[in-house]
């Protein structure tokens, strides 16, 4: 089975790190893009070690080439021919996508509401529903006010707003290298302004959330 780590622009060498289970990395060129792969007797399981190893290969490829599209873990093919057949129809689009993410990195932002926020006791059916809806609107507004200033300095972004519970916002931002400082400054300022919220910022990551065009 061929395990795929990601795609880089052709021509490319394999980064000098080991693949899953210590397997050597190889390249399979499919027109304008090159897949980074390793070969295994059995389909690799998604153990914690394997997930981390996969991520290391993606990061090494990014350092080496300046742009990588990570493949989702579990992308496997029987042989080179099956791999080429799968990639060929998408090769040009993947190459374009590599151009879009070059010079950028991904930052993740999760925002959590405090736990044990007093929840109003449910009243009658209609009033309860109105309160729920009002609460959802307020959450959406708050999430938008946090996402907005960060999205302005990002090239692209994705986000999900939680309707209930403590998870208010889960967002990813594709940030150009020259905007990183400003992005981090804005994130810090938001965290200062909203003391009752927990901000979890991670990165820089390879562009996992932006590997596919929106």
């Amino acid at each position: 089975v061929i395990h795929v780590y990601g795609f880089v622009a052709t021509p490319a060498d394999a980064p000098g790190v080991d693949g899953l289970c210590g397997a050597p990395l190889e390249t399979v060129q499919v027109g304008p893009v090159t897949a980074l792969v390793s070969r295994h007797d059995e389909r690799p399981e998604a153990t914690e070690e394997a997930v981390i190893r996969h991520a290391r290969v993606v990061e090494a490829a990014l350092s080496l080439t300046g742009a990588v599209l990570p493949a989702r873990f579990g992308t496997g093919y029987e042989d080179d021919e099956a791999l080429s057949r799968a990639v060929e129809p998408r090769a040009d689009a993947l190459h374009d996508r590599l151009g879009s993410v070059r010079g950028c990195c991904e930052f993740g932002v999760r925002v959590l509401l405090p736990e044990n926020e007093p929840t109003p006791k449910p009243i009658g059916g209609g009033e309860y529903l109105r309160q729920r809806l009002r609460g959802r609107d307020e959450r959406a507004r708050l999430a938008a006010s946090l996402h907005g200033p960060l999205g302005e300095v990002a090239r692209e972004s994705t986000h999900r707003v939680g309707d209930t519970g403590t998870a208010l916002l889960q967002a990813s931002f594709l940030v150009p290298d020259d905007a990183r400082e400003e992005f981090e400054r804005r994130l810090g300022r938001l965290a200062e302004e909203h003391g009752r919220l927990a901000f979890i910022g991670t990165g820089p990551w390879p562009p996992y959330s932006f590997a596919e065009a929106a």
Binding site: E48, V51, Y208
Partner: protein, 74 residues
Amino acid sequence: MSVTTDTSLVEQVTLLELVDRVLNKGVVLTGDITLSVAGVDLVYVGLRVLLSSVDTLDRIEAERVEQLLAEAVA
């Protein structure tokens, strides 16, 4: 802004984010994905974490992170 100094929490959150990305994001081709997830536990992983948090992050118990992780691999 106060940044959490609880390194084990930072590591757990980083691993959560990593697992979420590797398993749930990235290029998918022609539906040829079969994923088998073996026990993904929370241990140290020396990746980079940028920031941050306010004090409240320090109060998020490990169980919550584990729950989030379970959702990430679900």
